[in-house]
């Protein structure tokens, strides 16, 4: 009996040691582990595919029971969104083309120059502790570990394991995900209207100054508000030609002066943005699990950057050691948590890509330096 117990204890100990050995081998990136996983995948995929076919009615029934209302609401919302997007898409295409041409003229890299591979998400992670999905393309399509994955909305994650005909994608929300990003602080548009005695019937001339994040609309008559000699939104230093008069009214209504034929004085002139370009701050995006929004920690806090606005876009920063090329849209700032001292604020980022409903994704065949095998 004692001998039997000793054998059992030895067997349990052996299991423990084997586990530790396997974990060590895997963490050190052993090729044997990858090969065994790949071989197991070859054996297991047919069984999995057959099971998927057999259990499809069950899955569909479950989805119908649990998601019916949300799908109906989502469908309504998406119809509205499609109608809205169709209008803005044409203008966006023109802008993107123009931006790509400008980047190409200046010899700067663009996303259009990076080849990509389109894949479909075929499965979620069965684990509760890893935010990964599986896609139906792999090394045969040129996919390698580390490549960024996007969908139509924005960045989704990165490839962590690539096999022949499948790959595993770590989502942005995974706690192990980290990416250099830049936050473009878009100041909110402000419109000021200054009234002064003029030529209109009421005896008051109205001058409107509109400042937007990208363009500045300056009326023929420039005004100074608040600080003398400083024109909000002006691209070049200007000399005020009309001083604000007493009794000037400032209305933050957002309504610009009406353009009417023949009235040149009211026609706004659009000045290309110069010093008023949106400021950028570089930080690190970190996932925090599916139930929490990812956060951005600033690498350094620049006072010039000012307070971060809710809704400011967050895009990939790029760079030699970054996981993704520059200018991939990630999301928008949804919450700003200010910290004391020289520590910059922590930003919560609302991702543009809906990670719960991924279908088709695009893998940029761009392997970062840090992910290349040495």
């Amino acid at each position: 009996m004692a001998g039997n117990s000793f054998t059992r204890r030895r067997a349990v100990l052996l299991l423990g040691l084997t586990s530790v050995l396997l974990i060590t081998l895997d963490l050190r990136g052993s090729a044997i582990v990858d090969a065994s996983r790949s071989a197991f995948g070859v054996l297991f995929r047919p069984i999995e595919s057959a099971t998927k076919v057999v259990t499809k009615p069950l899955q569909t029934a479950w989805s119908a029971i649990t998601h019916y209302d949300s799908v109906v609401n989502e469908n309504r919302r998406l119809k509205d969104l499609v109608a809205f997007n169709q209008g803005s898409m044409i203008a966006a295409i023109a802008s993107v083309r123009e931006a790509q041409e400008l980047l190409a003229l200046n010899g700067l890299p663009t996303l259009a120059g990076i080849p990509s591979c389109t894949a479909q998400v075929v499965g979620q992670s069965p684990s509760n502790y890893a935010q990964t999905v599986e896609i139906n393309q792999g090394t045969e399509c040129g996919i390698k570990a580390g490549m960024p994955v996007l969908n139509a909305a924005g960045l989704v994650g990165k490839v962590t394991h690539a096999y022949n005909k499948r790959a595993v994608v770590m989502l942005l929300t995974d706690p192990g995900y980290s990416l250099a990003v830049k936050v473009v602080n878009a100041p909110p548009p402000t419109t000021t209207t200054v009234t002064s005695p003029g030529s209109n019937p009421s005896g008051v001339e109205t001058t409107t100054t509109t400042t937007t994040p990208t363009t500045t609309t300056v009326p023929r008559t420039t005004t100074t508000l608040g600080i003398s000699g400083f024109t909000p939104g002006a691209t070049t230093p200007t000399t005020p030609t009309t001083a604000p008069t007493a009794g000037a009214v400032t209305t933050p209504t957002g309504t610009a002066g009406v353009n009417q034929p023949g009235q040149v004085t009211r026609s706004p002139i659009t000045v290309p943005a110069g010093i008023d370009l949106p400021l950028r701050e570089t930080g690190v995006l970190e996932g925090r699990g599916l139930s929490k929004l990812p956060i951005v920690r600033f690498v350094e806090n620049q006072p010039r950057f000012g307070a971060v606005n809710i809704g400011s876009p967050v895009i990939s920063a790029g760079g030699a050691i970054s996981l993704a090329p520059p200018d991939i849209v990630v999301g928008t700032v949804s919450k700003v948590v200010n910290r004391t001292g020289t520590l910059g604020p922590i930003l919560e980022v609302k991702l543009l890509a809906d990670l719960n409903n991924l279908n088709f994704v695009r893998i940029l065949l761009y392997q970062p330096l840090t992910e290349r095998p040495r």
Binding site: R8, A11, V12, L15, G16, T18, S19, V20, L21, L22, I23, L25, D26, L27, V33, S36, R37, F40, G41, F44, I47, E48, A50, T51, K52, T55, L58, Q59, W62, S63, G123, Q124, S125, P126, S127, N128, Y129, A130, T132, T160, H161, V168, M170, P175, G176, G287, R288, G289, L290, S291
Partner: protein
Amino acid sequence: MIDVLVAFSENRYSRLVLIALLFLALQTTVFSEMRPFGVSLQVMVLLAVSSGLARGSHTGAIAGFIVGLMYDMVLTTPLGLSAAVFAIIGYLSGFVHSFVHESTWWSRVLLGSIASAVGMFLLPIAFTVTGATGVLTTNVFKIAIVVAVFNAMFSVPAELLCRWALREPTVVR
């Protein structure tokens, strides 16, 4: 050739591997999509726990290790991590069950449920030990409760299945 096949089918762990393959296929398809309360149900944990309940701590530990290793093969977590955790819960369920005097179906259901919950706590702890961050959160409690309730519901049929798969080879006269 036939002798090899007969020997293979007579080996209890080879039968367990075949059942585990089926459970793994269910885990990666239907149970990764069906997520009550946002939690992925863990049938592989159920298999490990049921093995311990059916055939004792020693067999439970080995069966748990095999089941966990197969689960590791499809996960991106370090290979051997789930194997270690499943071996522990397989061993624990069998060990604790050996103290139960005249065990009933409900005592086995209760033990299966508790062992599953323990496994759901051990997994994130093991992930954290190997360097993962952000997995040991309060969400673990929700996961443990949902998995424990689900595994309690199916522990009786799972135990019967494991009892059949892990039975000792019968001597043919």
